[in-house]
């Protein structure tokens, strides 16, 4: 078990280093940030001084080495455009994304659990068909379009909610709604089908024969086992959550990580793009490790085979 965990962590670290190098090369391929800073009045000397200041005058291997060693000390560098430490920009943007993402995540997960379980236990009922329809539609309709439609309905037609921005509680409703739409259908479908499989198993039949009350069978015995399958796709779900956050933040003009990333790429702000990529990738990798470990703890076949 310990060996398995250590191997998984090492593998993730190798992948992370690969990602750091990859994004380092990719941002430098995207062009010279000085082209965007240069004004008609700026002299070659000034540009050269700026390049020196940001270490862009050195060779690529040297730059990479400097970047990696400062990263190791926890220093993400200085933004080329904003001239402030990247870590400060992230500290300003990340809480905004979390403020929107966390409630969405909690709402989507609770709804997915409750609706998925109820649909599975009352198969082919009105609720089940509704859940199936929602899942199918949710996976087919583009999230950005749903967001635009929400704005059309609630902001333009009914004039209930603000179109964009951040501030009052009302500003949260549409972005959170969009994010829930991004996450709910897939998760709900997984919970439902996994629950159906478990309800069909021998030990649930045994529990029924024993005469346990339905509620206890479903919410205790069955649900616990039904959660294993959706767990494995939690990593992928997390990655889609990030894409969803980018689109949601752009549509609703939300000052979070997604918008910061898009602006930084367009301005060729290398340190910011690199920092965001590294943070997001480590979150995805960390999530996958957690899932693997949980899975190994829950499933004895993996636990014993690897140790």
């Amino acid at each position: 078990m310990t060996r398995y965990v250590i191997i998984r962590i090492l593998q993730a670290l190798i992948a992370l280093i690969g990602i750091i190098i990859l994004v380092f090369i990719l941002v430098r391929l995207s062009g010279d940030p000085m082209d965007l800073i240069r004004t008609p009045t700026s002299t070659e000397e000034e540009i050269a001084r700026l390049k020196e200041y940001f270490g862009l005058d050195k060779s690529y291997p040297e730059q990479l080495w400097i970047y990696l060693s400062s990263l190791f000390r926890g220093d993400f560098g200085t933004s080329i455009i904003k001239r402030q430490p990247v870590i400060d920009m992230i500290k300003a943007a990340l809480p905004n994304t979390i403020k929107m993402g966390l409630p969405s995540f909690i709402i989507a997960m609770s709804l997915a659990l409750v609706l998925g379980v109820l649909a599975a236990t009352k198969r082919d009922s009105l609720l089940d068909n509704g859940v199936k329809l929602l899942a199918v539609l949710g996976q087919a309709l583009p999230g950005f379009w749903v967001a635009v439609m929400l704005v059309l309905l609630f902001s333009v037609k009914l004039r209930l909610l603000p179109v964009a921005g951040m501030g009052t509680l009302k500003h949260y409703v549409l972005p959170v709604g969009t994010m829930v739409f991004f996450m709910l259908p897939g998760m709900m479908r997984l919970v439902r089908s996994s629950m159906l499989d478990v309800l069909d198993s021998e030990y649930i039949k045994l529990a029924r024969i024993k005469g346990l009350p339905d509620r206890k069978i479903i919410w205790k015995h069955a649900l616990r086992n039904a959660l294993i399958a959706p767990l494995t796709s939690a990593g992928m779900l997390f990655a889609s959550l990030i894409t969803g956050a980018v689109i949601t933040e752009i549509i609703f003009n939300w000052p979070g990580m997604g918008r910061l990333a898009v602006e930084a790429v367009q301005a060729r702000d290398f340190p910011v793009v690199q920092a965001i990529t590294i943070i997001v990738a480590s979150m995805v990798l960390g999530m996958n490790i957690l899932v693997d470990i949980t899975y190994a703890i829950v499933d004895p076949q993996i636990r014993f085979q690897k140790s």
Partner: protein
């Protein structure tokens, strides 16, 4: 005892009616998606003959006309016009071309690369396998949207930029799946027999392993159609897809955002189209999966 027999008879009868109903539903859920996808393919191929207007022709005096079923709409522009007086129906028909072309090219590239690497990793094992699996780790953890944005800034937005952006990371899930399948096949008897009679590893991979993973491959590729159409639309919506004036469904939704209070149809119609096509792709994928590869049926 008697009641038990009766009960089981009843149950069997119930099961039979369910099976019959399921059969109809199954066929219906095949007929509708296939019809929609065929219509899409036909309109993509015959776009220049089907579209009533030039999709990029600007007619300012006809701007923001509603669809025919609303007051002020006419059959001249069946689905209305946008802020520049361009025919939305014609733009949607030409947009189908782009969506379809992007997804088909990306599927061919990703499925091809993913299968080759997956079979090699699964069959050869060892260092090759661990190297390839670390590369798939990287591909699956790299933020895909950020990569697409970077590519658009680097080589400028365009057809091949979108294809590249979706392909660079898209092969990894195929490689994962095919590697898993290959691992199972590697220890099968027919592979051992092929090894004994002296088949080269290349021959075993091409002639013995590949035909046995092709079903999973077809299922996964079909399932990817909808996902890719959504991804292409998302990139176009963010303005890093195929650049205007070429009509793409995603960018049509984006353009309509500024006119959402006066002309809702500009954004709404392309979104419904995307939804219909993706829905059809997903249904066809589900149907194929049930037919070809029941063990993939986890979701």
């Amino acid at each position: 005892m008697n009641t038990m027999v009766e009960k089981s008879k009843n149950l069997r009868l119930q099961q039979r009616t369910f099976a019959w109903r399921g059969q109809v539903m199954k066929n219906l859920s095949l007929i509708i998606p296939v019809t929609i996808l065929s219509l899409l393919i036909l309109s993509a191929i015959f776009a220049p003959w089907l579209a009533p207007h030039d999709p990029i022709n600007i007619v300012m005096q006809d701007k923001l006309l509603p669809p025919f079923f609303l007051k002020g709409g006419s059959m001249k522009y069946p689905l209305g016009t946008d802020q520049l007086g361009r025919c939305i129906l014609s733009r949607a028909i030409f947009g189908a071309r782009i969506s379809l072309a992007v997804s088909l090219v990306v599927i061919v590239i990703t499925a091809g690369v993913g299968t080759i690497l997956g079979i090699i990793a699964g069959y050869l094992g060892g260092k090759v396998e661990s190297f390839l699996m670390r590369v798939t780790d990287i591909s699956m953890a790299f933020p895909s949207l950020l990569l697409a944005l970077l590519m658009a800034v680097t080589i400028g937005p365009g057809f091949w930029t979108v294809v590249l952006a979706l392909s660079i990371l898209g092969w990894a899930p195929y490689a994962r799946l095919i590697r898993g399948e290959t691992l199972k096949l590697r220890s099968a008897d027919f592979v051992a027999q092929a090894q004994i009679i002296g088949c080269s590893p290349l021959r075993i991979m091409v002639k013995h392993i590949f035909p046995n993973v092709v079903n999973s491959l077809i299922v996964m590729a079909t399932m990817a159609v909808g996902m890719l159409i959504l991804a292409e639309a998302g990139l176009s919506f963010l303005g890093v897809g195929i650049p205007p004036p070429h009509p793409t469904w995603g960018y049509m939704v984006n353009e309509g955002r500024s006119f959402i209070d006066s002309a809702w149809w500009i954004s709404t119609i392309p979104g419904i189209l995307i939804g219909l096509v993706v829905l059809s792709g997903n249904f066809l994928g589900d149907w194929l999966r049930d037919k070809l590869d029941p063990k993939l049926r986890q979701i």
